[in-house]
């Protein structure tokens, strides 16, 4: 392995692990606000008790997000020094804003929310929950704005010496890429939280424990999940795809496994990209659909990989292709599951439908898989660029950090995170097993 590969795996591994936690934090923060609102509206202590249960899971998850988040911020300097020196004046803005505006907010009011229920009035406690939600969603915004700038740089000037100058802070914050990416990503966090809530509820109903809570969790999970899953496909996923078609056409071709330019390009459902033969093996496709989805015309031309110089191709096309198809495939299944569940809920048949409860319970890992696959699509699709069109990934690493040293810390993180994962699952399992009853 060369140093570049180690640095890339280092970043990919640590960010993928980190993001397993904030996606639940951000989604759950919203659902906890929903529970607290129901408690205020109905005056029913059941909802407060439910909120306390989720707050415990939230706290463990949040702690994991915090301890794995700090390495992310450090890594820009430790492993990507040349990138940091070139772009720090731009993306440092959003990263510093995240610390100043959201981490302080979140960490201050989480304490008030978790420890303060007895001392605060019900309204004040609702406000604390809301501020935690606000902090986590702001945090998501600043980090997505950072990523969006790397996908689609705006508001900057490239000098002759190769320096990147920020010229407009609004260009950075209101980057046209941010809007859909932020919505898609945050609604994705809500999908994760909805599935987790519904899954725990289904588990309680199937094991005939804490059944009143089980019903609440399934109901809220299915309603929030039904809405959010549909929003993932349309408009947010659709608009992300259009952004890519417009600004990163070579990435689109790679994601779709489209090797040759076609008028009336097909949408691939299944198939394996065969890099040696430059074609898709065993294709199962919907004719003309890709052209229509991208340009609203059935016979529009979509450019294939062969139209672009090789050195602009993403460097791992099969991985990009599969992760994209896993995300979209799972997204479609989620819509189907949630809509059927919502239909049964409306008919009053859901809590007794064992097949559906089993499905919901076992669905738990899949939103995590879809989210991770989505990020791999975004990040591998950006290759070979670190900042699209400006800085190549190979020019961004720390030149003075040798491969052996980077491997040392990569192995260290792998060991450390294995330990963290075991502890996390153990503690969350205990909380779920103990249940909301006090």
């Amino acid at each position: 392995m060369d140093a570049l590969t180690v640095h890339r795996i280092h970043f990919a591994f640590t960010i993928t692990f980190h993001y397993l936690f904030p996606q639940l934090t951000m989604g759950l923060a919203l659902l906890i606000v929903v529970l607290k609102t129901l408690a205020l509206r109905t005056g029913n202590p059941h909802y407060n008790q439910a909120a306390r249960f989720w707050a415990k899971i939230f706290a463990v998850n949040f702690a994991m997000g915090v301890v794995t988040g700090i390495p992310m911020e450090f890594q820009f300097g430790t492993n990507w020094a040349r990138f940091s020196k070139a772009a720090g004046g731009v993306i440092g803005q959003t990263l510093a804003m995240e610390g100043v505006f959201s981490f302080f907010l979140e960490s201050s009011f989480l304490g008030a929310f978790i420890y303060g229920e007895k001392r605060l009035s019900p309204k004040a406690h609702w406000v604390a929950a809301f501020l935690v939600f606000l902090g986590s969603w702001l945090s998501g915004f600043f980090i997505i704005a950072t990523d969006a700038w790397m996908q689609h740089p705006t508001g900057y000037l490239l000098t002759a010496k190769g320096e990147i100058l920020l010229t407009s802070i609004w260009g950075l914050l209101l980057n046209p890429w941010v809007f859909w990416q932020y919505l898609h990503n945050m609604i994705g966090a809500l999908v994760t939280a909805s599935f987790v809530m519904a899954s725990v509820g289904a588990f309680y109903l199937l094991s005939r424990r804490h059944e009143s809570f089980g019903r609440t969790f399934v109901r809220i999970g299915v309603i929030a999940g039904g809405i959010s899953c549909c929003l993932m496909l349309f408009p947010t996923g659709d608009r992300q795809g259009k952004n890519i078609a417009f600004h990163q056409p070579v990435t689109l071709a790679a994601m779709e496994g489209l090797f040759h330019t076609e008028q009336g390009a097909p949408l691939t459902i299944l198939g394996q990209p065969d890099m040696a033969q430059q074609r898709l093996d065993n294709p199962l496709t919907v004719p003309d659909a890709l052209s229509f989805l991208t340009y609203q015309r059935w016979k529009a031309e979509v450019r294939g990989l062969a139209d672009f110089p090789r050195e602009l191709w993403p460097d791992n096309i099969p991985l990009l292709y599969y992760s994209y198809h896993i995300m979209v495939g799972l997204g479609t299944l989620f819509i189907a599951v949630m809509l059927v569940a919502a239909f049964q809920l409306q008919r009053g048949a859901l809590y007794g439908s064992r097949p559906m409860l089993w499905t919901l319970m076992l669905a738990l890992p899949f939103p995590y898989i879809a989210t991770t696959a989505g990020w791999i699509t975004a990040e591998v699709g950006r290759q070979p660029w670190l900042i699209y069109g400006i800085l190549r990934t190979s020019d961004g690493t720390s030149a003075r950090v040798a491969e052996g040293n980077a491997l040392f810390s990569l192995i260290g993180f792998m060991g450390m995170y294995t330990l963290l994962a075991i502890l996390f699952l153990f503690l969350v399992h205990r909380e779920i097993d103990h249940g909301p009853e006090e």
């Binding site: 450090f74 720090g88 802070i169 030149a399």
Partner: protein
Amino acid sequence: METFWFCAVAVMIAAYVVLDGFDLGAGILHLFVARTAEERRAVLASIGPVWDGNEVWLLAAGGTLYFAFPALYASSFSGFYLPLMMVLWLLILRGIAIEFRNHIEGPVWAPLWDVVFSGASALLAIFFGAALGNVVRGVPLDASGYFFLPLWTDFSAGPNAGILDWYTVLIAVAAFLTLAEHGALWVALKTEGVVETRARRAAAGLWWSVAAAVILITIVSFRVQPHLGESFANRPWGYVFPLLAIAGLLLMKFSKGLRAFLGSCAFLVGMLTSVVFGVYPDVLPSIGDPSLSLTVTNAAAPRYGLEVGILWFLPGIALALGYFVFTYRSFSGKVRL
């Protein structure tokens, strides 16, 4: 403009050291001042609701450093690669030790995390001290502004230095003692009964070693980094910073409770600002060729970014201070379990 951001970063780092410093100090003393399960819970409760917010100062300082001085961020973070990775692992261990310990009662779980908490806190204090020592001593910067330091070489503070040499180890020990003292005063302030008594006794005992360490490191620092002496000679008003430190040190000795703790805060701020004042306008001195040093001007980001930064930074920090006042007020007085 660069100087404004230099001061902003220095103030944020000082805020981090003062605030997370007492978390670390409480961790260092945890096993000694608290023996029973209940006593240990009291020490943890004294930092439980605030430690995460305190740690955010490190992140905010890092983020500010990143956008205001990207060349410094890139150079120092990649150059101190190995110790920073270890700092990250220690921060992870400390964080989960605090957060996970109280989830389960029992004779195996809690003592394990107590030891992890204490060990990680102690090592963090030592690493942060060594880092400060490295910044004062300087690093072997190359022409492109980068360096890479091994953990140790021959322990001389010369051109072939490692991260750990006799000088940086000395600073590390001083930092360890100072933060232990700071933590002892905090724990004494927040707890009652035997824990308070033991913390008070620890603080009184540590004071002499802190005072001795300060005298020693002051003398050797001026020899290792001659630039410090020049700064104070050229701008004598800078003596207010060491005077603040001395005042804090005396206050720690001759008063009790909140005042002694504030004395310790003043001492930490005074020591840090003295160092910062002493190395200014360098931000990372080079060992060897002084023209390679990173300075506030050659490491700073371009002007526009620094200017708009102020527009969001000042209100943002004002808000953050507001949250801190709220948190510490709702958490004032002795901890109740």
